[in-house]
């Protein structure tokens, strides 16, 4: 790779051994990706490394080394959701609490070190940093070093920023150097679509299911999706942003999609239309049968496939305030229809800390959920499943991501509403 004189100096150790080692790692990353140079990061990072768990994030020793060397990111960054340490919101057994306490014993120190390295504030923990109330909203054309597959696909697709799917730890190293390799989704060429996805369903499909179908088919390619423009707002109103966030998350989970174009809706598709498609692109038609076959193929991984649901986790990825209002109204109406006061299946809805504050301030949805016995958390349910903590529990979810990584069973939103108020799946 061709490096600038300043990059060469850092690499040679002029700023000390730790910056040299960090730069050397980023340079080798660039060489592996076939980049011929590095480019400057132009906006704040968002990273997946929210957990003080070796193997998920960098080790404490690594962070201590960076802090001691005086490293700090060029821009403040946000992180994925905190682990579910707000135990009261998760109906956990004592043995589960004990395991979580032990797993996350270093969490406070870990977060302090990340604040010293550039974490924006002590509440900057969500997988949806680009919500208005959270405020890490990249500009179109920004070059970023993001991780969190759900956030990467949204930043690229809906905001028109440019980031590769960086992995945990390398994300931090790139943000500390303020550099990323000029490769992949940073370049115009890699942002062209190699798949035409024609959605021909009888109604607007659930984004979590459509995304899973697309991700499975295109893997890490770039899809250009038609057939949604009549139902979504090109001005990207909040329901459209909610839809695209869930669509992208499911695409990224089922495959490795880092960018999707939605005809007439996402910015690059509005600007360039089907000129984004490469000439020899492939085509995948999604109809009702494709989606029904997909959800029917999901295995039931509960130990007892006939068990009654014991827990329901919603908000993977984190919900917006509007989505919380939908769940509050839907669950409330279903309870009233059955003459019941509270949900039968313990239910937790996950949102950003800032959304939690907003929902509580606004009042009505929060009150309705509290009355129904539904809990709100700013945590992430995934971390309940590490180490087999919840393998024996019959959990339901509407999340493709949670379903993919755990034994949670997937149901569409409206079925979830019926199940949590009736207890019957």
């Amino acid at each position: 790779m061709r490096l600038t004189p300043i990059e060469e100096c850092v690499l040679a150790g002029d700023e000390g051994p730790v910056p040299a080692r960090v730069m050397g790692t980023v340079v080798q990353y660039g060489e592996a990706l076939g980049a011929d140079r590095l480019v400057d990061v132009t906006g704040g990072g968002h990273m997946v490394i929210a957990y003080a768990l070796p193997g998920i994030g960098p080790s404490l020793e690594m962070l201590e080394e960076f802090v001691a060397a005086g490293l700090r990111t060029a821009y403040p960054f946000t992180l994925d959701p905190r682990p579910p340490l707000d135990y009261g919101n998760w109906s956990l057994r004592d043995d589960q609490v004990a395991v979580l306490d032990d797993m996350y014993r270093d969490q406070a120190r870990y977060e302090q070190l990340l604040l010293e390295l550039g974490l924006r504030d002590p509440e900057a923990f969500t997988c949806r940093p680009f919500l208005d109330e959270v405020g890490n909203v990249p500009r179109k054309g920004d070059v970023l070093a993001w991780s969190e597959s759900a956030a990467v696909v949204y930043a690229n697709s809906v905001l028109g920023a440019r980031t590769n799917r960086n992995g945990a730890v390398m994300d931090l190293l790139c943000n500390l150097t303020g550099k990323v390799p000029l490769s992949g989704l940073i370049t115009d060429e890699a942002r062209r679509a190699t798949w035409l996805i024609e959605v021909r369903t009888s109604e607007l499909p659930l984004p979590q299911v459509l995304g899973a179908a697309i991700g499975r088919r295109v893997l890490d390619d770039v899809p250009y999706v038609t057939g949604l423009d009549g139902a979504l707002d090109p001005g990207l109103d909040l329901p459209t942003r909610d839809y695209l966030n869930e669509l992208g998350t499911a695409c990224a989970t089922a495959g490795a999609v880092g960018l999707m174009h939605v005809q007439g809706v996402t910015p690059e598709a509005i600007e360039q239309g089907q000129a984004l498609l490469v000439p020899d692109h492939r085509t995948f038609v999604v109809d009702d049968d494709v989606l029904a076959d997909l959800t029917a193929s999901y295995p039931v991984l509960w130990r007892d496939g006939e068990a009654s649901p014991e827990g329901c986790y919603l908000g993977c990825p984190h919900l917006s305030a509007t989505q919380v209002e939908w769940w509050a109204a839907s669950i409330g109406a279903a309870l009233r229809a059955r003459g019941r006061k509270k949900v039968v299946v313990p239910t937790t809805i996950c949102v950003a800390p800032q959304t939690l504050g907003r929902v509580k301030n606004d009042g009505s949805a929060a009150a309705e959920l509290e009355e129904a016995g539904v809990r709100l958390s700013a945590g992430c349910p995934m971390q309940l499943f590490d180490n087999g903590l919840s393998d024996d529990k019959a959990i339901i979810t509407n999340s493709t991501k949670l379903r993919s990584y755990t034994n949670a069973r997937f149901f569409p939103d409206r079925r979830i509403v019926e199940i949590v108020v009736s207890g019957e799946s």
């Binding site: 592996a32 070796p54 960086n166 992995g167 945990a168 992949g184 893997l219 993919s404 990584y405």
Partner: protein, 151 residues
């Protein structure tokens, strides 16, 4: 039968071991998230969506994949597997290495001290001809020899 393929050595090394082949994208986090908390000589693939590898022990194997997929948490996993001693011996990519795998495997090599050998650009034919259980020998120059009934 023996067949040879040549790729690009991303993290060079001379190692050999049994092939573990994923014909679809290899979801790193889903495969290993249960193998990174407690020291163990094993790394049982926990990805129920991977028909080829679910339930197989990937510790010491030569993982043969088109590319990696899934959560970007998968980046940190490689470093942890090396530390715990239950990492695959090598990862062979049919395509150019993806950013998620490149970042994770390079960090594991440069910050942990134990290298998982990585060769990419071996071509689609490599992945269609190699079978799980074939004996694979990798040279520092990126040459990959496959021995087995199917090779």
């Amino acid at each position: 039968m023996c067949r040879a393929f040549r790729g690009r050595p991303v993290l060079p090394g001379a190692v050999s071991g049994p092939a573990a082949v994923s014909h679809g994208g290899f979801n790193t986090y889903a495969s290993f998230f249960k193998s990174i908390h407690v020291p163990s000589p094993h790394a049982i693939c926990a990805d129920s969506g991977n028909e080829d590898l679910h339930g197989l022990d990937l510790a010491g194997a030569v993982l043969c994949v088109p590319a990696t997929t899934g959560s970007t948490s998968g980046g940190g996993v490689w470093q942890r597997l090396v530390t715990l001693g239950n990492a695959p011996r090598a990862v062979l990519f049919a395509q150019s290495i993806d950013s998620l795998a490149a970042g994770g495997l390079i960090v594991a090599a440069l910050w942990t001290g134990g290298t998982i050998v990585v060769v990419d650009r071996l071509g689609d034919e490599f992945l269609t001809s190699v079978r799980s259980g074939d004996e694979i020998t990798i040279g520092r120059d990126g040459e990959v020899a496959v021995r087995g009934p199917s090779a």
